[in-house]
């Protein structure tokens, strides 16, 4: 029982981080109808950047976030403008998957050349600290990560609902044609949206680097989990992605603490298959494109 509750606590805390990463993914899909297979690689890049800032300049990864998010924002914009925008619309859905996949591998290659393949982690002074509440252990890092994720998601929510840009994004997501008529520049929204998705990846990357050892190849693991989360939540639903993130993380953590850590690696895949078998549109899936 103890192990179970410990697993749940761990899962919820980790779920917050994955929720942040998944929200960026969902945002990009909502705006551009593109599944960004490079999201995992962007998180890892964010982790590497935070790592570099920490080891070279002693900047705490949480404090590095403002720097890394800005850098990655422009990287995201660049990726959209250079690689995705030139696609003709009829090719877009088919090719965007492959293109973002290629971008992921490109990032992986660059990272492995720049930092080689040794596993890294960001070892701050508080990296191993933990509180014990009612007999359950709560690692400090995870707690801060959770708080940060909530904060970032809150910021994202404010951005989407209170700013002009956010309004434009929501309009584009719901009805691209009307949005265009109302003067919303779809291309600009797409580029900025992609940048925003990359920025969320940067923020998540700082946290990721604190929590897990990583190297350039870690993005496969990450993107697989993110995709399972997105499918469970329902492609296109930000709220769904957040809930799904917590569900997947919690399930993994429960399996890890009650069965074995090796099997927890498979949990997200099992969940993915179950979702596709039982309810392919996910928990809160929006109407699929195609059809009418």
């Amino acid at each position: 029982m103890h192990a179970l509750i410990q697993g749940v606590i761990l899962g919820i805390l980790t779920g917050g981080v994955y929720a942040l990463m998944a929200s960026g993914q969902t945002l990009i899909f909502g705006i551009m109808k593109v599944i960004n297979l490079a999201q995992g690689a962007m998180v890892i890049l964010g982790a590497y950047l935070a790592y570099q800032l920490f080891t070279s300049f002693g900047i705490d990864p949480f404090l590095a976030i403002p720097i890394t998010t800005v850098v990655m924002f422009w990287l995201g914009v660049a990726v959209q403008v250079v690689f995705l925008r030139p696609l003709r619309s009829e090719d877009r859905s088919e090719l965007s998957l492959l293109i973002t996949f290629a971008v992921a591998l490109l990032l992986e290659g660059i990272m492995s050349v720049t930092w080689n393949t040794t596993h890294r982690s960001i070892n701050t002074s508080y990296a191993n600290g933990s509180w014990t509440v009612l007999g359950y252990q709560i690692t400090l890092v995870r707690l801060w990560a959770f708080v940060l994720s909530l904060g970032a998601l809150g910021l994202l929510f404010l951005l989407l609902n209170r700013t002009k840009f956010g309004r434009a994004v929501r309009a584009t997501v719901q009805n691209p044609d009307s949005a265009r008529l109302l003067g919303v520049e779809a291309q600009r929204v797409s580029a900025l949206g992609f940048g925003l998705g990359a920025a969320t990846a940067a923020a998540a990357g700082s946290v990721y680097g604190l929590l897990y050892p990583f190297n350039s190849g870690s993005h496969y693991d990450l993107i697989s989990r993110l995709l399972s989360i997105v499918v469970l939540g329902g492609i296109g639903s930000v709220g769904g992605a957040m809930i799904a993130a917590v569900i997947v993380s919690t399930s993994s953590a429960i399996v890890a603490s009650t069965v074995s850590p090796a099997w927890s690696e498979m949990t997200f895949f099992v969940i993915l298959i179950l979702v596709l078998l039982i309810r392919p549109q996910g928990l809160f899936g929006t109407v699929g494109r195609g059809s009418i």
């Binding site: 859905s93 088919e94 996949f101 660059i110 050349v113 596709l276 392919p280 699929g288 195609g290």
Partner: protein
């Protein structure tokens, strides 16, 4: 017809080539070119003809490699040809694993399919490292050493791969000429419409995928036997996926010869560079960059672009056709 001449000539050349006393590194390169030609051709069935880009084919390469390794674990071979005879079983294993994957992931859309395949790749990679009993984990798996004479060591593998290539190309050719190809083209053009007019969309997609991964698994088996010792990071390597996708795109998706052309160009390039550079990180960057450039500047691939150019030149030489009129039937 021209196409009926090209095939036999091509295969005739392939069959005769090793008899010219080529150097080992050339033959080795040809073996790898053939491997990728078969795999690209196989990928083309599902990624080109059906329009469903699978990102997980490398997983089935690995499954085939480990399947053959498992079948021959701890055994010796007498003539050396036994593993080849078991290849169809390896192919069947690949297809049988691929079938449920296809049924689950191909029911909705191509994005979901890509998600499942890339996740599956990662899962298989993890299993390859962790299932020590079957795969030997990170320590690797040994296969029996064949008693082939050193001078002509590559030849049996070479010819088996030529055979597999003829199968792959034969299937592509046959598919295009049959209603399966018509159905796949409809799926690729407008799947919802196709489903709406009664085309058995799920059926043909699943069939294409199963055949495709079965072939890929067989190539994995040949590779495993060729290497005699396989490690999980090379058996289940995402680089293989991007290589075959790139080769198919470069040569021209949904064409018969495109994947072969792409494999010929890229794999010879890679093998040559392997001598000069070495180190797989650069391959990753190189492949990814080339892929992105192809996507941007040559999205149809070489063959279709050439065909289109020729057709345009021919039509500009001919007298202009009569203007199309609305048919007043």
């Amino acid at each position: 017809m021209k196409s009926l001449v090209r095939g036999p000539v091509f295969f005739g050349l392939l069959i005769v080539l090793p008899l010219f006393g080529l150097q080992h590194w050339v033959l080795n390169m040809l073996v790898f070119v053939l491997m990728f030609a078969v795999m690209s051709s196989a990928w083309n069935l599902v990624g080109g003809l059906a329009g469903y880009p699978s990102l997980g084919h490398a997983a089935f390469f690995g499954i085939g490699a480990y399947a053959l390794g498992s079948l021959f674990k701890g055994q010796t071979v007498s003539s050396g040809y036994e593993p080849f005879l078991w290849l169809p079983v390896v192919g069947l294993i690949g297809a049988l694993i691929g079938w449920p994957i296809a049924v689950i992931s191909m029911r909705t859309r191509a994005d979901v399919f890509a998600i499942v395949t890339i996740t599956f790749l990662f899962v298989v990679q993890t299993l390859a490292f962790n299932l020590h009993g079957i795969t030997g984990g990170a320590q690797g798996l040994a296969l029996p050493i064949p008693p082939f004479p050193a001078a002509t060591f590559e030849q049996p593998y070479y010819y088996v791969l030529v055979l597999l290539l003829s199968v792959a190309m034969g299937l592509t050719f046959g598919a295009a000429r049959s209603k399966v190809g018509l159905a796949l083209s409809a799926v690729r053009a407008d799947e919802d419409k196709a489903r709406g007019i009664g085309v058995p969309t799920t059926g043909v997609k699943v069939l294409a995928f199963s055949v495709s991964v079965g072939l890929t698994a067989m190539v994995g088996g040949v590779w495993a036997y060729y290497q005699s010792f396989i490690y999980p990071q090379f058996a289940v390597d995402p680089l293989i996926t991007i290589a075959i996708v790139l080769m198919t795109f470069l040569g021209g998706r949904a064409t018969l010869w495109g994947p072969i052309l792409g494999a010929g160009i890229l794999e010879t390039g890679q093998q040559y560079l392997a001598y000069e550079l070495g180190g797989s990180q650069f391959y990753l960057i190189a492949y990814a960059m080339i892929f992105l450039l192809i996507m941007l500047f040559l999205p149809r691939g070489i063959l279709p672009t050439l065909v289109e150019r020729l057709r345009r030149r021919r039509s500009s030489a001919a007298p202009a056709p009569a203007p199309r009129m609305e048919t007043a039937a």
